[in-house]
């Protein structure tokens, strides 16, 4: 059907969902590239997606576990049997009144992802890695200025004016993940005279293109921005007109009192950025026509809510909300609801994720999804009985992966697993699969239908794109959405009365006067083309309780968190003598985090076209102190884990830090298991049993640790 032409569709080699074109010849995808009608770029992971599609390791049939969990032994079964196993167990769970003990770990592709609908129908919850990636950013923005909580909300770099400032604080946007066009947009902005400031303990490509690289102590971002805010208020160089008009009465006075002792000098001792540099950057920002800030890794530490709060305050006092070059406040496309829709269960009452030692205190902080890394604790406590996972790899992405593995294999007195059923959908062999009872062969973006309309990442205007199958599916693979729709039809026909996924998307599209056919006729894309600026002026208010910007978080007054603390996260403050190094674990463009489909992609693990090594990065100054030679294999030990890996010296890392790429360590699949590289999460403490202060300050994040290094 699609011979010898470029077909518009969507990439899903990572969660950015870039609009692309695929060239199909003789029923085979030969080439892919960015769709020029939608910013026109596709990154290396996307380009290598063809290798994922055709890899001989593709899972082609449903697999049923035959050995013990963790052994990775399976036999092939038919889809009917697989569907029957899931249906039987879920019906049993619901009959026991324990539908809420079902969790589906996934990254919803839209707010109405059909998988999410199924989970709601059962009465369970979805869990994602999203809470650690940016729940703190989302919650901070929501609390302060009522911004719609889409993912990441990266600045729109194509709107940055000449002289505007782009700050990347622990953020690596050249690794894509927002949209493949972002590197180009940042470089274009620079060429028109914007300034790029990179605040980072590690010098990466972004820093190499920056006008100014500011090395910082990991976790020091809140202190740095509070120091700048303090200086601005003291000098009166903040945006007074904006604050007078939009900030809730009394909050500016409260802020000034709070910031009084957060001087650049005081904050410098925490973040290790010289006070003169804090002042210089504050004054640059005060003068610039716009300032954008983006953070990612830095907002995954145990002080994430404080950093998110300080960041929000800084945006407000510089007036950088919903202006060209500032922080966008995006909207979502008004899709039509597919009725009747199952109601979502009460997460606060029935959810399992407040399992840390400070459970009661932590109740203050609420996110809309369960974080994946409380799963281990929930299994141990009997709050999680049936677990499905799609497009995630908890065996590697779970902090404290050892605890996760333990939980998966824990049994009751009768010898039955505490977690009664674990189902994984996968394209290529994954680490997580080893513990699954049922492995369902999933489809790549080249084989499936999907409607993508979140203002995810970088798709700011109301925007929708259709992912369409461009070739026949490999083996008996089925897209997870279709599997859940079919299971939904069996179990909840009232909520799944539509014909199939395509009809489901059709109904949704009617909300914007579109249909799947019209979309395809129009190049598989739809967007009215405007994002609009300063929408709060038209509305006369922000989406907060008071309609004004709320700098003080009064709802946290009883836990003393109404203003952001500048302190480093607890995991970096304690045990500094025993564990002198801070682990800086970062991501690269060549890996979709722990995603099995990039780990097992030959082009992405090739040293010419990808990345095939993950040694521990150390500054030579530190290495000399430790008496280590370049290439030596060392023991890296945290309070909860220990690994052995080779060392690579580099001037590109702040002394006192040890660098490691996030996402390695898989043992499943011929490509992924090459080399003795390890997963950073082996070193990081399990959330359920180790979070304490982080529960209050970090939202739900804590993806790093201190380590010691011995020869």
């Amino acid at each position: 059907m699609h011979e010898n032409k470029w077909i518009p569709t969507v990439c899903y080699q990572c969660k950015a969902e870039c609009a692309i074109l695929a060239r199909v010849e003789d029923g085979v995808v030969r080439e892919v590239k960015g769709n020029p009608r939608a910013r026109g770029k596709m990154c290396v992971k996307g380009m290598a997606g063809i290798t994922t599609l055709y890899s001989q390791e593709r899972l082609k049939k449903p697999l049923l576990r035959v050995g013990e969990r963790g052994e990775g032994k399976f036999k092939e079964i038919g889809w009917d049997e697989a569907m029957g196993i899931m249906e039987k167990k879920l019906r049993e769970l619901m009959k026991r009144g324990e539908g809420h003990k079902f969790t589906y770990s996934m990254f919803p592709h839209s707010t109405t992802d059909p998988k999410w609908r199924f989970v709601n129908a059962v009465g369970g919850f979805i869990s994602t890695g999203l809470p650690h990636c940016d729940s703190a950013k989302i919650m901070a923005h929501l609390h302060t200025f009522g911004c719609f909580p889409n993912h990441h909300i990266a600045p729109m770099y194509y709107t940055v004016p000449r002289g505007g400032i782009m700050i990347l604080s622990g953020r690596h946007p050249f690794g894509c993940l927002d949209d493949a066009c972002v590197p180009k947009h940042i470089l274009d902005a620079k060429e028109r005279g914007a300034k790029l400031i990179v605040i980072d303990p590690i010098f990466r490509t972004e820093a190499s293109k920056a006008d100014w690289w500011i090395p910082i102590k990991p976790g020091g971002d809140a202190a740095l921005f509070l120091g700048m805010a303090s200086h601005m208020l003291k000098k009166g160089i903040h945006n007074k007109a904006f604050c007078d008009k939009w900030v809730r009465e009394g909050d500016m006075e409260g802020l000034a009192a709070f910031l009084k002792d957060k001087t650049p000098e005081a904050m410098s001792t925490i973040c290790e950025v010289p006070a003169k540099d804090i002042i210089k950057l504050a004054e640059m920002c005060a003068k610039a026509p716009s300032v954008s800030i983006d953070a990612f890794k830095s907002i995954m530490y145990g002080n994430a809510m404080d950093w998110g709060h300080a960041w929000s305050i800084f945006l407000v006092i510089t007036g950088n909300l919903d202006n060209p070059g500032g922080q966008p406040l995006p909207e979502i496309a008004p899709m039509a609801p597919v009725k009747p829709a199952p109601p979502a269960p009460n997460l606060k009452e029935l959810g399992y994720h407040r399992t840390g030692p400070n459970r009661d205190k932590f109740n203050h902080y609420n996110f809309i999804l369960e974080p994946t890394w409380y799963a281990a604790q929930a299994v141990k406590e009997g709050n999680l009985k049936v677990f499905f996972a799609s497009e995630c790899n908890p065996a590697l992405s779970e902090m404290g992966s050892g605890e996760w593995r333990k939980a998966m294999t824990m049994k009751d007195k009768k010898g039955d697993y505490l977690l009664e059923l674990f189902v994984v959908t996968e394209i290529l062999p994954s680490e997580t699969m080893k513990w699954a009872d049922l492995v369902l062969p999933d489809q790549t973006n080249f084989e499936r239908w999907e409607l993508l309309y979140m203002p995810w990442w970088y798709n700011f205007g109301h925007t929708a794109a259709v992912c369409q199958p461009v070739v026949k599916p490999i083996g008996e693979s089925r897209h997870a959405n279709r599997v859940m729709i079919e299971l939904g039809k069996r179990m909840f026909p009232e909520f799944f009365a539509f014909k199939d996924d395509v009809e489901y998307y059709d109904i949704e599209l009617s909300g914007v006067g579109m249909s799947m056919q019209k979309m395809l006729d129009g190049g598989a894309l739809w967007s009215p083309g405007t994002v609009g600026f300063r929408k709060y002026e038209d509305a006369g208010k922000f989406n907060t309780g008071s309609g004004k910007i709320e700098l003080e978080w009064r709802m946290y007054a009883d836990i003393g968190q109404q203003w952001p603390s500048p302190e480093l996260p607890l995991e970096f403050r304690r045990d500094a003598d025993t564990y002198p190094f801070i682990l800086v674990n970062f991501r690269t463009i060549f890996l979709n985090n722990t995603g099995a489909w990039s780990q097992n992609n030959a082009q992405l693990r090739d040293s010419v076209s990808g990345l095939d090594a993950n040694p521990l990065l150390l500054n030579p100054i530190d290495a000399a102190r430790l008496g280590i030679a370049n290439g030596d294999t060392v023991t890296v030990e945290s309070s909860t884990g220990k690994v052995r890996i080779p060392v690579l010296f580099t001037e590109k890392i702040k002394p006192g830090c040890a660098g490691l790429i996030h996402g390695f360590g898989q043992t499943m699949g011929k490509v992924a298991s090459r080399g003795k590289w390890i997963s950073d999460n082996e070193l990081i403490a399990d959330a359920g049993s180790h979070l304490d202060e982080q529960d209050l300050r970090g939202g739900e994040a804590h993806v790093s640790t201190r380590v010691r290094i011995v020869k």
């Binding site: 380009m47 001989q56 490509t205 190499s208 463009i589 001037e651």
Partner: protein
């Protein structure tokens, strides 16, 4: 002089390797089913250089493909006469059918860019996308470059563009037909 060229802007290349994979896909250099890392041909590679010491560092990234040399050593090395420099475009081309698989060109190429197809015993490399450019298309790497770091055209014109943008030619890298440029400082 008639010479087509690619200009690599060191201010913009981020070493993302998108061009490498796109080129491989286009020319079918990868057996997607069976290839393992370390075994795949490639017409480009990324190089980088970091200078200075913490915290005063500078780093550049760039790509190296066939430099379509002015006096190509590969042509001289090939006794079978399988390589020639096209008069109209200045592109250096290997004729697969004439190539006897002697690998002499590979030994002599100073840029180490010639690949060898062991199964079909011929040498192959970047052709500056000859079959595309003669029909008015850009080379694949130029079209897909993630950072718009590459531009294509007649060498003299690219030099004029670099000059107009205030970029300087990195002389020691641009001794053949491919141009490497960056802003001063």
């Amino acid at each position: 002089m008639k010479q087509l060229s690619i200009m690599v802007d060191l201010d913009r290349c981020i070493g993302c390797k998108t061009c490498i994979v796109a080129c491989r896909n286009h020319y079918g250099l990868v057996d997607h089913e069976k290839s393992m890392p370390g075994t795949m041909s490639h017409y480009l590679r990324v190089e980088s250089q970091c200078t200075g010491s913490y915290p005063n560092l500078k780093e550049d990234y760039w790509v190296v493909m066939c430099q379509h040399c002015k006096k190509p050593p590969c042509i001289k090395a090939c006794e079978a006469g399988a390589i020639h420099k096209d008069v109209q475009t200045g592109i250096v081309l290997i004729d697969k059918n004439t190539c006897v698989g002697a690998k002499k060109c590979i030994e002599k190429c100073p840029y180490e860019v010639i690949q060898f197809d062991a199964a079909r015993t011929y040498a192959h490399k970047c052709s500056l996308c000859y079959d595309r450019v003669i029909h008015g298309q850009e080379p694949v790497c130029v079209e897909v470059c993630l950072a718009d770091a590459l531009s294509f055209g007649e060498r003299e014109i690219l030099l004029m563009h670099a000059d107009a943008a205030g970029k300087k030619v990195v002389k020691k890298m641009s001794t053949q037909s491919i141009l490497y440029v960056k802003s001063p400082g």
